[in-house]
Symmetry: C2
Subunit: 494 residues, 2 copies
């Protein structure tokens, strides 16, 4: 009702209540989530021994395509969304470490903005909407900072372990007069974002529920002869039309047959543009975002909805790896050990199916698992699909294939949300050299594996929350062969 | 058949034939289009008196979201697409002004790219696919240039009249040894892109046909109570699923009621998130792109599909302006004069409807038209929605409201594609001050206009090609009130 039409019938887009909502059956996210998030970051900075100073953050900037006036659809910078939940571009924010209060700085817009972009929200509108202690204009920052006389300004600078990129510290005219601290804010933000609050978990459950429904809708409409991108189109449509999710969390990977063995297929250079072939495996890695929170789900199934014996064997090898990991996950467990567990279960099953020879220990020692699963078992997920905090200070990246691709090297904590995504792929670029390798070659049954070089791959990717005693599965798609075959024959799931 | 599965059943994404095609019923675009485009630009540089030298161009770069590893879906830089049609990021290109030959430079990819991103195309693959004279690696540029010993290197630098942004010239290590020319390439590119070749027109007809069908699909599914963004979702889905169009040309504007008077509604800060109200006007400005070629179409209609007398009057005033312009358009006609024609027809009709008083001349002299249509009549359209070349050297921007917003100030040429998009909006930020204005106030019938401040607006936007004797209409949506009411009642259109 609060978002229903008001008396005049046409509320301004800025006159929305204390939650984010896309209407209809979509989720209402309380804005107070960000108040909690800000408190958590401020506590984090204090825990490093700082008792005063202010943290200054820059929101995402308006971006244009090259030198044209094509404005890209804005998506808030992730840390800024975490702290403020503001959907407008070109804002700044301040957290006061001593008082715990927050201020938001919004662009001073020209009067004709109202003609082109809509009613200009007043500072009071922003204040009531975003529940910050103060709202000022961006050009007020220098005088605001002067007024607070901070002994230290915390700015965002530090490395993202997935991208290796450094954070770009916020700036304002005259900032050079102040003493800057460039570590604490980055660390406090990443540590805060590593575990999710109850309110954040609600959002991630929603993104997973809707994206799961969309995956099922795709599976039920897949037919031989369709183009791969038509699966992406069906998925996007369900997420947006039903779920109010305008953006995907990442570029969809919809690979049929050998394309399923191209791990980042779907990008601009390989845009899901092949035809689906009857009976071939499909690997669909798709997830939509709601209110800047991600989902990241992969379903693998045969076109036509009936597994061959060979497909079933390989699929169930991956599923067993997934189930073994999920059964073992709980707070305190090292994520690297879970990756190794998945590897062992996978090669044990492939051994049982006759694709490999030797023992599990021999196979692991010869680095056979990474030939079939070259990527890491999973990663933290939240506002970023590959969420921050996977490598805390001191964590060292492994050098072994597979393990070195892991985006998280730390023990599980209650409140983490991670993906569990074991896979088994038949990648010619990996297997062909291995057949001739002196140590690996004899462990591979080339006669069985060579015919699979066009098979593609299987990935089973779920998003799970770590709970006090184990995990909660957020993803709700058919996973057993029987469930998939039933859903694809048109039966409801669950 | 050329894009059908090959003998091995699974062609690499790079082994595609001499055209771009998304399969099924989508359009095949011959790669030779780019050969023509390159020749046109080389001729343009020569026409400026240069007989030698090379032009160096940089393609679009891979982009990430802030400091994360979230890779944005790549879309080629527009000039580079025009010349080369290459869908991969981080390439360079060279045009040799004396020989007329072209070279493409592609990134040298690490071997493990094949695991993550797909088969690495060889230089020969690129050469046969893109029909350039030579393909080398990006790191070969310095030695390649040294080999050609150019007396001049033409680089891309100059202002885009829509964005005001300057082009960023391509660079390579050692470029400072050469003499650079920073005007000719920019001018030649913009002049070339101003008129479209027969092959380009085919692509623009396709984008228009498919986007028109998608608009009709939306109109036939609109119901009171839906959210505005559900219209966007339906549109996107049709364009991608049926038309193979993964990207929209611009962020969709789907405004119901007063939102229709917010000219750039739909952006991240106002994301089409209001409910559709029975009987209210809807303004949908949406267009999808195929092979980086745009469409830009606006349909306006009432929720429920039946116009009231008032809606019909305002709608037909805009339609009359559109028809008057289309009847007058032909090569040699000044675009500013077409804008003024639209303004005159619009106020003449509003006068007839009793919303204004005085004479057309008085209304124009008092700048009344721009109160109802603050934007320009239309713009060039091609690879960019607001395509380049609207203000050739010497063209001066007008100062009068409305006219000064025109993105093109030049005479029509055969082969131009322009939008014709008159509109009539009831913008409180414009009309409320005007009611009290000493000159404008007496010409406005405030008693009739005040109740319309929640009406929103009407825009009718078509894409047209200028032909030798007039125009060809590319857009194929219902335009008369009778056509719209018939289509929305479920009847086929056309
Ligand atoms: Mn993942
Ligand atoms: Mn337009």
């Amino acid at each position: 009702p609060a978002m229903e039409d008001n008396v005049a019938g046409w509320p301004s887009v800025y006159e929305s209540p204390a939650y984010y909502w896309q209407g209809e059956e979509t989720l209402k996210v309380p804005r107070s989530m960000h108040l909690e998030n800000r408190d958590k970051v401020i506590q984090g900075i204090r825990a490093k021994g700082f008792t005063s100073g202010i943290a200054l953050l820059a929101g995402g900037e308006t971006k244009y395509r090259n030198d044209t006036d094509h404005e890209e659809l804005f998506r808030q910078e992730s840390n800024f969304h975490y702290l403020f939940g503001v959907k407008d571009a070109d804002c700044f924010g301040v957290l006061n470490v001593s008082t715990g209060k927050s201020a938001l700085f919004v662009p001073r817009l020209p009067a004709d903005y109202a003609i082109w972009m809509g009613k200009i929200a007043s500072l009071a509108d922003f204040k009531s909407k975003y529940e910050v202690d103060e709202v000022l204009y961006v050009d007020d920052i220098p005088s605001f900072v002067q007024g607070t006389k901070p002994d230290l300004i915390f700015v965002y600078s530090g490395q993202n372990s997935d991208s290796k990129a450094m954070g770009v510290p916020a700036k304002f005219e005259g900032i050079e007069q102040y003493k800057l601290e460039e570590q604490a804010l980055h660390e406090a933000l990443f540590e805060a974002r590593v575990t999710k609050s109850v309110k954040e978990l609600e959002v991630l459950k929603y993104t997973n529920r809707l994206s799961s429904e969309a995956h099922i809708a795709v599976m039920q409409q897949v037919r031989a002869g369709m183009m791969e991108y038509q699966m992406e189109a069906l998925f996007n449509h369900y997420c947006y039309y039903v779920g109010g999710m305008r953006k995907q969390s990442y570029t969809a990977i919809c690979g049929c047959g050998p394309n399923g063995a191209v791990l980042h297929y779907g990008h601009g250079g390989a845009p899901n543009n092949r035809r689906l072939r009857a009976g071939a495996m499909v690997l669909n890695d798709m997830g939509a975002e709601y209110y800047c929170y991600a989902s990241d789900i992969t379903c693998s199934f045969p076109v036509g909805g009936r597994f061959t014996e060979e497909q079933r064997g390989i699929y169930e090898a991956v599923l067993d790896a997934s189930l073994a990991v999920m059964r073992a996950m709980r707070p305190g467990v090292a994520w690297g050990a879970m990756h190794e567990l998945a590897e062992r279960v996978l090669v044990e099953r492939l051994l049982g199916l006759g694709y490999l020879s030797g023992t599990v220990d021999e196979l692991v020692a010869a680095e056979i698992p990474a030939l079939f699963m070259p990527h890491g078992l999973g990663h933290l997920m939240g506002i970023d699909t590959h969420d921050v905090g996977g490598y805390p200070a001191g964590a060292v990246r492994a050098t072994r294939p597979g393990l070195r691709s892991l985006r998280m090297q730390r023990d599980l904590l209650e409140g983490m949300v991670v993906t569990v995504e074991p896979g088994c792929y038949f990648v010619p670029a990996l297997l062909e050299p291995a057949f001739d390798h002196p140590v690996q070659g004899p462990l591979l049954c080339a006669a069985r594996l060579r015919p699979l070089l066009g098979f593609g791959g299987v990935r089973i990717e779920d998003d799970v929350a770590v709970t006090v005693g184990g995990i909660e599965l957020l993803t709700t798609v058919p996973r057993t062969v029987a469930e998939i075959e039933a859903a694809m024959s048109g039966r409801d799931f669950p």
